[in-house]
Amino acid sequence: MSLKSKSISSKSSLNEDERLKKISPLRVLLNRPELGALGGSILVFIFFGIVAGDTGMFSAYGMLNFLDVSANLGIIAIAAAMLMIGGEFDLSIGSMIGFAGICIAIPAIYWGWPLWMSIVFAFAMAVLVGYFNGIMVVKTGLPSFIVTLAMLFILRGLTLAITRLITGRTQVPGLRVLIEDDPLAWLFATDTFKWLFTWLGSLKLIELRTDGTPLATGIPPSVIWFIALTLFATWILMKTRYGNWIFASGGDKVGATNVGVPVGRVKISLFIGTAVASTIFACIQVLDAGSADTMRGTLKELEAIAAAVVGGCLLTGGYGSAIGAAFGAIIFGTVSMGIFYTDVDTDWFKVFLGAMMLIAVVFNNYIRKKVTETK
């Protein structure tokens, strides 16, 4: 026996030498899913720094502008990324945004509910929709692509039909007056760090309006939610048992089930996650605009998935990161706003979006091959 184990260990030390030669620090870094998106973000910033450095894009006001857009997309992209790591898609994100919007607006405006109650109602509906998506996928075994595509149409249709039925229109305005003194709405409608901007303004370090108040008044709520959700999602994925279950459920459903991971429960909770994130998105938008629109959120599901993919999520599940998706969202948000500061026609944004996605998918595919390469 001792002779046998000796021969094993001598062989393995030989193996180790081979490995040491093969893995360079660069390769270790390359194995991180968020690397592509991080590199992409840096490139995007360098590009606009050169092209649009003197246009006001990187003034406090300009930066908050593109950060706000990035953050809004990021909120749903992170939830979409977690679901993708868990091996499923949610195409109903965009429709859920519209649906959540009218779930807040109609009760608040037409039924006289207090705003906080409408917000709670919208989140309750989100949990229901997410649960329904999840249970359909888990129980029927159908691809989530189909189930949530159906939900995309159902929710958008419901949103339009209900709104028109109750209000006779497709828009519900008049929310802004309700925000003040509401015990819940401030969570989605308050600019923070105002004192910082006032102070910076008083030092004339940032742009001022003609009346002397700073042009950028504070950090928008979307950015705070975005940062908080990125940290929370990363903590879950990397540091909790549930995070490991998400990777396992997406990586190998059967294997995970065999070792006792409650795959069904994990997936259902992730579907609830995307619906709830859509509702956070909707709250911020509806309260910012002061109105709900039945077409809000159209195509957002695809942008969220694109950001997650650029962020390193594999379409087949089991791999990816929340930080990557956050950087994916920053890339898209920065480019979609930054393009206004350049001479380039904004029509080119979609071309860029598509090209970025293609590059990301090819890159991710290469990474996956590297990671799973058997020696």
């Binding site: 094993i8 396992a248 190998d252 294997g255 065999n258 006792g260 089991g318 058997t374």
Partner: protein, 265 residues
Amino acid sequence: MSDYLVQFNNISKFFGKVIALKDVTMRLKKGEIMCLLGDNGAGKSTLIKTLAGVHKPDEGEIIFEDNKIVFDSPKDALDIGIGTVYQDLALVPLMSVTRNFFMGREPQKGIPFLKTFDVEKANKIAADRMGQIGIDVRDPSQAVGTMSGGERQCLAISRAIYFGAKVLVLDEPTSALGVHQASMVLKYIVKAASEGLAVILITHNVHHAYPVGNSFTVLNRGKSMGTFQKKDISREKLLSMMAGGEELDKLEVELQEMDRIHNKN
């Protein structure tokens, strides 16, 4: 107290009219490696699933440490110490060694509701365990996909042992492996048995089974053709007992016949 750690007595399993298993009996002592041999379709998979608690036997009894046991789910089998390593290994190639090792049973630390996955502890245990079987995991956060087939098999077995398996059920652990990798896995199986585990090794490869097995049960068309101690049976006899054996004999005769005719001309 009988000598046996686990006994599967007269197990039968029917699917509708199909008799998948009929009166299969296997008894194992601690430290024993029993090889379950059979050709494709002999009922090996059904038997494994019955041992693992996936199927309930329609007839017969399972006795573990002198207690009669009824499994309602795979979890029951795991809880009393029957660890099954399926052919697909239940490993996720994209996940790290540690994350795979503890998949579904992650050690936690911290206060309730804010419990975290104790990655440091898990890394240490995984590296230790792999080290014990001579696989030097340089970095336990490396993806399982970078490991060889043999190493993956050893990881899956090691995981089953760590989580309290007293009886290991291994489904074709060497079928997808080359000679070197297979011998690495077989060595580990022998080592595990020498530490007191009972091992049921399911295979259709007599050449892998014969060197490591203490006893051999041959399954043919859902029935056991008996259990034989190593001293009582030769490799060739075992081979011919499997359904393929007789056919190979026939084939050999036919080939000789062809050869004879060919030489005549």
